[in-house]
Amino acid sequence: MDHHQRWRPTVNEREFIERALQSDLRVDGRRPFDFRRLKILFGREDGSAEVQLGDTRVMGYATAQLVQPYKDRPNEGTLAIFTEFSPMADPAFEPGRPGESAIELGRVVDRGLRWWSPEIAVWESRAVDMESLCVVAGKHVWSVRVDLHILDNGGNLIDAANIAALAALSTFRRPECTVGGEDGQQVTVHDPEVRDPLPLTIHHLPIAVTFAYFGEGNIMVIDPTYKEEAVMGGRMTATINSNGDVCSIQKAGGEGVMSSVIMQCLRIASVKAADITSKIKNEVNSYTSAKALQKVKRLPASALKKDNAPDVAMKEGSDVALETQSTKASSDGQQINKEPPSVVKDNKQEDVEPMLTECNPEAQSESRLTAGESDEKQEVISPKSLKDAVKPKHKRKKKQHKNS
């Protein structure tokens, strides 16, 4: 009696949904080409956004890390999307060994997400400027990572996840870094308190719009719900930006669709994409202006802090670097591709630049000043900091408190 399988509608629901659609009615009272209510919320950290599309909830979280670029693209940063399906979102998503139907669903959705909405849509259509993420060509580039957590599956995860990724990327700020030193290869990552972190360069927002087909492909609706997804005969997702450029189309299995229908879908999608783009932009703007206001108010406190910052920050800085390494090492198991693990070793060997901190949520909240100004200082401090790293975390925090 396996409860963990894809939810199947009752005969009554299936028949009713199809019958109602024949007279252009949808069970939640929408018209065929209405989106559900879209709500975008932002977290306290930059680069985190939660999207609610009706009952569907997806959280996006963007982080960045300095890594070595790919050999064939030495002056481009990278962008990777990771998805997380929690069984809390849908009983069909199982942790550990998933059931047959859960695999099927997971694959379809996962392929949908990584193959096209976020990865291809954002990456191949070059929504995010990758060249501006380069710090030292061939050596250090920013690797941006977006984690998408499915919090509740109310249908149409693709569109919600796509909006979450875009909202997270739009509010994401990476620490500013400068290149200096004698050899001109030394990277200094500046504390966000000292120099304002920089936003990504985003050229356009590719919006995913999903259509569900019923009957023999002659009835179609936009933004299907969980129930409609269980009943539909086929689905197509078009990724399109507000200029009407089609970034990608995904049609996986199901009923065949006439090309004229696809053209009609694209026309509808471009209208919807413009709506959603302006919604995202408005939300992002109000978030950033609220954030800017906060900063103005906080200024005196941060100015006060600066006086005795360097001493503490040096230690903290190296701590953070160590932490970064450990988190990286642990996360490497999950990361299927991309980041060459050699980067970790690299950092250990070259004491010169252990300061390649990433935009780790923990690291960011702590006050730190990235050092690396002089090599000697680094070496003096490094044994101490190693000890610090061994100490349990709560002790470290106390010490920091005392010092500051």
Binding site: T10, N12, R14, F16, A20, V27
Partner: protein, 239 residues
């Protein structure tokens, strides 16, 4: 002593959370009280084990009423189940509980080996819980206690949707809850409410079914007046 009013437990009709002491038995002597769902005795106290609203049915029945997505089967509840499998002796029915329920193939009015009903997977059934305990799968029946069909059985057509158990209890409350009363004045529809948080609605036209089901879903967090005005605005949009 007996004439003393039963200590009314200050928490009646208030929200309780697990661990709240609802009654102190040391203060009550020679009294019988009956405990329902969500309460247990711990030495001299009665404590809540689930979060919800404490109810008292005079003179002495106490229970905790909560609203959940998951249903805990209890005997004599009318539920809406979905057939997920058929076995020679039983239909396996999903009633949103921790385990699937058994519906014996003979538990129909006049049921014999010869006239076993044929239910395909996904059939919606209105049934009654006849056995419910923690170690066995619950058992359903499509007969009332006297062996009559009494409205139980397969539900055809219409539309089924999920609600919380609290909402389905509200729909079944008497006097009729405001949302159903307001809807019933303007529209004609059939409704079957299962205490397991499932509601089935049927009406001649699909648009009426959609209006009724959306009105019910929206009424979850509304007061009586709010429900009436919400129904009115929905009906206005319809016409």
């Amino acid at each position: 002593m007996d004439s003393r009013k039963p200590p009314p437990s200050a928490l009646v009709d208030n929200h309780v959370v697990p661990g709240d002491v609802v009654l102190d038995l040391a203060e009550m002597t020679n009294q019988t009280i009956k405990l329902g769902a969500g309460l247990r005795q711990d030495c001299d106290t009665i404590q809540a084990t689930s979060a919800g609203r404490l109810r008292l049915s005079k003179p002495n029945k106490y229970w905790v009423e909560s609203s959940q997505k998951r249903y805990v089967p209890s005997v004599e509840d009318a539920v809406l189940g979905v057939v997920v499998d058929t076995k020679p002796d039983n239909f396996l029915v999903d009633i949103k509980g921790p385990s699937l329920a058994f519906l014996p193939v003979l538990a129909f009015e006049g049921g014999t080996r010869r006239n076993i009903p044929k239910f395909e997977i996904g059939t919606l059934i209105y049934a009654r819980v006849v056995k419910a305990n923690s170690i066995m799968n619950p058992e359903l029946s499509c007969m009332d206690a006297t062996g009559k069909a009494a409205e139980f059985g397969q539900l055809k057509d219409g539309y089924m949707f999920d609600t919380s158990t609290g909402l389905s209890r509200m729909l079944l409350s008497s006097p009729t809850c405001p949302v159903l009363e307001a809807l019933g004045k303007k529209l004609s529809f059939e409704i079957a409410v299962g205490l397991n948080g499932r509601v089935w609605v049927n009406a001649p036209s699909p648009s009426n079914v959609i209006v009724v089901s959306n009105a019910i879903i929206k009424s979850e967090s509304l007061s009586g007046i709010g429900q009436r005005s919400m129904v009115e605005s929905l009906l206005e949009r319809l016409s």
